[in-house]
Assembly symmetry: C3
Homo-oligomer: 471 residues x 3
């Protein structure tokens, strides 16, 4: 028998009455602030076309690798979920069946943030009052699809309902930002900007790298057969991105290695790289040097730089072959920053007009590396808990391990970093609750006074992200 | 003056009244469930012979490396504890004196799980009401020895009193499982099974490896001069173990490295290894390849595979020379799984009829590697907190760092993993209390409802271990 | 408008009333115990000369790298703080302006231990009742300077007021300990001793190493052109230090590597090293061997050995060039102990008359390496949370991760390790509060009884440091 949805107004607050009351008080002051979403992976075409989302499976399951990695871990195949195979092989087409399978396995998500995000979406976006289970899967499926067909559930309407002040997507330099342009020209007030993510033309190991670099040359009219032409092409695309309102770049690298090679050396390496002949070691060196180049360009054009290192992408070889990228098979790696970032920091670390936001999947670096570095270098900031750590316990560890050395003001607020558009308010809500609960603990044990906590709660929710990302 | 034994019925529960009440409620529902002990190191001969245990020192001190490592760290020699030297040199023979020394140093264990396990044994198994101290050491020694001489304290009687449903020991492939056979044939209802632990014939650096492999050949009639014969011998012994009711294998390796070498290469390496000529690097490669072979055999015969990597065994060189293995001188090493397990996972990771349970002594891998991997690969499960981390704080960290990414259902319940038979109920009790306390926290801050928490408490205590180990 | 200073008498205690009451009770028993400060970096000349401290900036900002690293991280230059440049270039001379800048940026320290230490100094040493802010910066500056000009604020008077029983400074072997001698001869009862910190004559990469070794030879009359003469010179200086009351040595190395080279090999290496020709790798080997030599000397002369490894010193290249050492630009490194300490431990690890206190900046080693090692080796003890981890959350993690495996009695109490003399009572107070709060938690959940907790609180505050450092 379906149970009531679990969405208590005091969720995530300490059960200590004193702390809970303070957390609640702080939360009430920030709960309704606009959402600043400075980094994420939603699809700009949703907001340019403003077409209705098609159905529950396409919207809530297929873009959410958190969901299907858990199902896959317990023996559900991606074919059963209807995920398209690269070879066009048969996969489940009956979405109702896929939804039922998801509902049957919903107990797997107990104790995970996905459960909390999904329940929040079910309750607050769709108005469900009972928790999803095998018995009501059909009803859920039908009611979600009915809602999605209405105007109130079109992308722009949801964007407005979610009180999003600005939303950043992430695009390759090869993207023409057509959808962002259309949005800007449409007269709609929603602010949807991109971020410059050059991995496809910076990482020699990215699928299709050589063609992508050639394409970059064509797009910009620069001669990418030389390294200086290649850099000029980056400058041109960065300028184009910036002209559309972009304020940041983003770099997804296997490691945090940076290098600053002599000109002759990087030119020689580039000659190898652009022919697609780089070894793995050469590819790593190239990426490392390019981070330093990108930092230099950020000093020139003012774009805020983000570094997301340390994911072993496509770890599951056969799954990658069958289904491609981003299928829940990326696994964190131990990551080190201290020696690896030194070449970049030796060159630009003391600049006060440059911001480099560091993310990590290796929580051991919070207290050992990131907080000490961000608590010293003017250019560095620590990004919020990322990916697997974007969760209540992950957020708690982040504040516990970062704050004492970096303070609050070397952090940058929250990123939802998501492809799951509907979960954006839920994710920001979890962050706001956990931050308020942490501040309440500091007030309870007299490390902060209430007035300070209120100010910090506002900054963590709103101001720090706006400032750090120049929004 | 002796003090009352500290064994409060609410021990380990949060001091927050709301959380404590929920934890107590959950605990009452699982406290008396039968014990599933799917991995440990008790001695099967105890249960086949059913002879009385000899005395307090032999039973409670000598098999417990937790106890003598702490005493040794504060200057007590193993000779004083009566631990036998390899050279037969003189050691303390007066057990009463050894017991007194232990009692005098009992305050060293404050804040450790050993203290809690021992107090539980003293109170619940022997009925003491006052805490062990210098003054009552003699009384303790006498009363324990008197009890042990009675029928109620024979191994089988204790096994039944402890409500153990199944107990797994761990044996080498060279073991004839005679005691397990005797137990099965005895008509006694107690279920005591073994686990296949092939380290002595898989690890070229194990003392006596060459002889052991020859012995393996003799036992099975296989030609272990060839690699295929060596594999066949493993298959034969696994089949023999399985025929006695065994459901799992266990592998204790210095690292988690796996490899899948081409046939010619592993055959050439085996030729070196079986002559005892392997270098350290070759030994590591051989062990790594053998893990993949063992995984393949598990797919054939259905035995659940356990991997316990990352212990620097016998770290104390002179102690090892004087006293041999397992004397409290094994120290954890930083361990990595992501790249190291890839060869095995590339081959068998997506199998849904294969289970590989991963353990770690490096807690940094919980959130960074093990939970993300087990939250994706169908074959992977995360084993419970192991060894130094089998403790209240260790269990808390485990749940906090594993649950959000792997959920509850990619974990496998509790292992006591002990040689200290009398402590088994105490260890399971600590796990049950800590799990209930964690679930109570999730209920208190509205991440789970009570009905779910009750279900999960049952699963963590009983069902997950039964299912994961096919018991 | 200035706010009341936040210095609640229950600060840092749990907000759970039961736990708070126990913590308060324990704290009241240790709050007024004398301070044992067995490791730190105050200046002995303060206590020999007993001249008044000059002003707020010289005393509270310039020696405190915690303070200026945070300001620097948010764009304040060291020039603005009046920190002297190596090239004598212009820096702010107006201390009132520097103080105002500090006050304006005081909110940056929210949530950091510096904030708590400074507020405690402002309140308890200087009697301020309102928190520092832009508006009262001038008043603060004037009142602090007025106080410092009075006899009650001279170094010896503060030492007595702080109830310091013994204070250890840290000096190079080349130091003549003149100030310590003067203090001893002055008839003043304050006990200020040094510690033997031989890095400048042990680390071939230390600035001026070759000259320093030559100087060491001159001071001792030993022939430092040979390795045996070099060792004899160390023995002579250790004996000299010991003769002034010194009880410990201290070693700041980039890693924890130890080695025990054959005589011919180390003699050959020394020949290279003392000419200043060592490569980085040779320097590392030399330092590693010297740790083992130092351990051997400790067995001879009884000096307690401290190892502080794992800091990447002077990470900020241009800042180092402009301002020199110790300017807040040292960053922790991942550190490993298990394999690295083995050569030293193989030689001296089981000695019961030798103490090696291990510190770490890498918290992952608490539960994985340091607690297991100190919980086994008789010579090893785990030092208190160090540097970035000398903070409420850092102390909590230390106890949570160390206690269960090492117990309390393989730890050594608290070190303040500071250059900021006035903060010493504040730092010890934070440690006492956090320890009492942790013990209160153990009492609340029935892991300790109250009488034990009282004993341990006393030991952690006073006895363990006295015993471990032979004070």
């Amino acid at each position: 028998m379906p149970k009531k949805l679990l969405l208590h107004h005091d969720r995530l607050f300490s059960s200590d009455e004193k702390q809970r009351a303070i957390a609640r008080n702080l939360y009430q002051q920030v709960a309704h602030l606009p959402i600043i979403s400075p980094h994420g992976h939603t699809d700009a075409s949703w907001f340019s076309g403003n077409e209705p989302f098609s159905d529950a499976v396409e919207l809530l399951i297929k873009p959410d690798h958190y969901v299907f990695r858990m199902l896959f871990s317990q023996g559900v195949s991606l074919e059963q979920l209807g995920i398209a195979r690269m070879d066009g092989g048969p996969v489940e087409q009956d979405k109702r069946k896929t939804w039922q399978l998801f509902a049957d396995n919903y107990p797997l998500f107990r104790g995970t943030p996905s459960r909390m995000w999904l329940d929040t979406v079910f309750s607050q976006v769709f108005g469900f009052e009972h928790a999803l289970c095998s018995e009501n899967a059909d009803d859920y499926f039908d009611r979600i699809n009915e809602s999605l067909a209405t105007d109130a559930f079109r992308p722009r309407a949801l964007f407005e309902r979610f009180n999003i002040e600005v939303l950043s997507t992430t695009e390759s330099p090869l993207d023409n930002l057509e959808h962002h342009r259309k949005i800007a020209e449409s007269g709609w007030a929603g602010r949807v900007i991109s971020a410059y993510r050059p991995d496809p033309v910076v990482d020699p190991e990215f699928e299709g790298f050589v063609d992508a670099v050639n394409h970059l040359g064509e797009l910009t009219g620069e001669d990418v057969s030389t390294f200086s032409g290649y850099l000029a092409a980056h400058r041109a695309r960065r300028a184009f991105f910036k002209s559309t309102g972009v304020t940041s770049t983003d770099h997804g690298h296997p490691t945090a290695l940076t290098l600053d090679l002599p000109t002759a050396e990087i030119e020689a390496l580039y000659a190898i790289v652009r022919k697609g002949d780089a070894t793995a070691a050469q590819a790593e060196v190239f990426r490392a040097h390019m981070l330093t180049e990108m930092a230099g360009m950020s000093l020139e054009d003012g774009l805020v730089m983000q570094l997301h290192p340390g994911s072993s992408r496509n770890h599951n070889a056969s799954l990658f072959q069958q289904f491609g990228r981003d299928k829940g098979a990326d696994i964190p790696l131990a990551t080190s920053y201290v020696e690896q970032l030194k070449p970049l920091l030796d060159k630009y670390g003391n600049a006060t007009d440059f911001t480099l936001i560091l993310f990590t999947l290796d929580e051991t670096t919070y207290s050992r590396e990131l907080a000490p570095m961000a608590g010293h270098y003017p250019c560095l900031r620590v990004g919020p808990p990322w990916w697997f750590h974007d969760s209540p316990e992950g957020m708690r560890r982040f504040r516990q391990q970062v704050t004492e050395t970096a303070g609050f003001y070397n952090t940058v607020g929250f990123n939802d970093d998501t492809r799951a558009f509907l979960s954006i308010p839920a994710r920001h809500d979890v962050a706001r609750r956990m931050d308020c609960n942490w501040l309440a603990e500091l007030v309870c044990d007299h490390r902060l006074d209430m007035e300070e906590a209120e100010q910090i709660a506002f900054d963590l929710t709103y101001q720090l992200a706006k400032d750090a990302y120049k929004l």
